[in-house]
């Protein structure tokens, strides 16, 4: 491969550096924790990780389109409340599927509210989604004033499955990435990347910028529905603020996965990798016997270092050039 093609390859697959970082961290992790790759342990970690992965995928799509969504966490809280309202310990398969569809449907509606305000009313994404996050919190509290709820045991067992010795989460991630690979070669993806990198130019070439932007927020709502489903299946009950803290994690994960916050670059594989990086850092800190009160600081310092990595390379390059 010549350098131009190499450059093209890296610009299309922005997650390569993140993948390297993840590999290094996984190496450190497995040397500290020998049972990391044991099926039971791996399945447990992936099960608790899947909600954030799904949420980060939605966030990544918004960010690629040039926006940001600060409401996804409260959306998850709201949609978990919807699920808990519709499912009880005796629910049959039909009811459960309907409940999941309802959660995703409400998520899509919530995403439409965000998308309409940002794309058509031209409101700033940060403050808009911050404002709507209050609305979603309020609805969550309205639906689920007290923590609680129950789901059928069979459903939890279904989610804990490991078909052919591979955790269910990996199948879901695999399917998502497959779908993304197909979407990436469609006109929709071209529109999405164009909108994110230069909306003015995209508009001039006749791309329906506002519509594309709207769809990214709708995706975020839809994925919040999936994330809420995964979260409910793994915790088995709900709470009106259960997802609130996931918003900022989803953004950090997206950036760690190599997606530019200014839009127009990145993909969902990066988001998946980003979430895994966050988790592995926490694992390493836990198994390295870092004192309890220092864990938050060490965690944050490693994240800053990971964020600074690409920038440090750029800085060195700029200094050398001079």
């Amino acid at each position: 491969m010549n350098s131009a093609r190499l450059q093209y390859f890296f610009s299309r697959n922005t997650y390569i550096f993140s993948l390297l970082l993840l590999a290094v961290l996984l190496g450190v992790n497995s040397s500290l924790q020998d049972n990391l790759f044991e099926l039971r342990v791996l399945n447990n970690s992936m099960r608790t990780l899947l909600p954030l992965i799904l949420l980060a995928v939605g966030q990544a799509l918004v960010v690629i389109g040039g926006g940001i969504d600060l409401s996804v966490g409260t959306m998850v809280s709201m949609l978990v409340a919807v699920l808990i309202k519709l499912i009880d310990a005796e629910s049959g398969a039909g009811d459960i599927i309907l409940a999941i569809l309802a959660a995703c449907g409400v998520g899509v509606l919530a995403g439409m509210l965000n998308g309409f305000a940002v794309a058509f009313l031209r409101l700033q994404p940060i403050v808009t989604t911050y404002a709507t996050s209050f609305i979603f919190s309020g609805v969550a509290l309205l639906l689920l004033p007290r923590p609680g709820g129950q789901i059928p045991t069979d459903l939890r067992r279904f989610y804990a499955q490991t078909p052919y010795g591979v955790p269910l989460s990996f199948y879901i991630i695999g399917i998502l990435i497959l779908i993304w690979l197909i979407i990436r070669s469609t006109r929709y993806a071209q529109y999405l990347f164009a909108t994110g990198s230069n909306s003015q130019a995209a508009y001039t070439t006749g791309i329906p910028v506002r519509l594309v932007r709207l769809t990214t927020y709708v995706w975020a709502g839809f994925f919040a529905g999936l994330a809420a489903t995964a979260l409910t299946l793994s915790t088995g009950s709900g709470q009106a603020n259960i997802g609130d803290n996931m918003t900022l994690d989803s953004i950090v994960a997206v950036v760690l996965g190599g997606t530019r916050l200014s839009g127009g670059k990145g993909g969902i594989a990066g988001a998946v990798i980003g979430v895994m990086i966050l988790r592995v850092i926490r694992n390493v800190i836990f198994f390295a016997d870092v004192p309890t009160w220092s864990q938050t600081l060490v965690n944050a310092l490693i994240i800053i270092a990971a964020l600074a990595g690409p920038g440090l390379l750029g800085l060195v390059r700029r200094v050398v050039k001079k």
Binding site: A117, L123, A131, Y203, V209, S262, I304, L307
Partner: protein, 329 residues
Amino acid sequence: MNASDVSNSTGRLLRYQRYFNPPLIALVLAVILFFAGGLINPNFVNLNQATNIVRLAAFLGIIAAGQTLVIISGGEGIDLSVGAVVTLAAMLTFRFTEGRNDLIWWGLLLSCGSGMAVGLLNGLGVALLRIPPLVMTLGMTGVVQGTILVVTQGEMVGTTPPLMARLIASPLILGIPGVIFIWLALGVVMWLVLNRTTYGKHLFAIGTNRTTARLSGVRVLRVVVLTYMFSGLLAGFGGFVLLGFSQTVFLQLGNNYLFPSIAAVVVGGTLLTGGIGSYWGTMSGALVLTLIDSLLRAMQLEEAYQLIILGAILLVLITAYGRQRSLRQ
């Protein structure tokens, strides 16, 4: 689209700005909201309540001062670490002075200094390493919270010097608490900094267009780093002042001010894209937000409805001010 359309839309924008001065609208809105409160609850409209609301708004306003600078500086500038810095400064003062009045000045120095140090790191990360401000300052939030945990080991020990409470939160002159005077003084200082100093001119210049600013001789990197340092300093100062009011410190103390500080800036008419804004806009924004909050409390609604109404009001407010340029322009 033809030339006359262009001039027409530009003209409309200019006229819009002349007649609808966002800070002024926010201020008028604040007054209307206050008297609307009287309709809901007759006890809402009195001098005591007015003083109390301005006092509460002062804390938000002081903390939002640095946020205003960072947002004016453009380049997606935003400071998500102000909440954590507020807590850090309050905690340090609380712990260090241990209730001794003679150590207050050192507490103030410690508050502002620690805030500035955090701001310096933010600025270097943003300007030198080109980490997006949103994630850089979010990462620093983790670092600051981690530092607080390491220092305190989970236990907030200390005492607030009684003099601080007297000077800041209790009525000082004519029944007006000291924090309101502090806030007004800060307003004057901020106006001078933004409008009468080279730094202020450079700040607006880099907020409008970094490339043209650099070509006109502005040292962009230095101005950006300085801006984040000021933001940290003001957040630290905000934490110090807040301690005089709260008299106690907990881990989430400053957190409740983080997003409201951004909302106050936006409601005050400062553009999130940078280059346009004012601190007196932010002051009016802080007043409006505090009033809405107090009004919702006075209505004694369930928390769920309070949240939903707050979200809806914020959306309406942003629709009035926060609109971005149309793609057609």
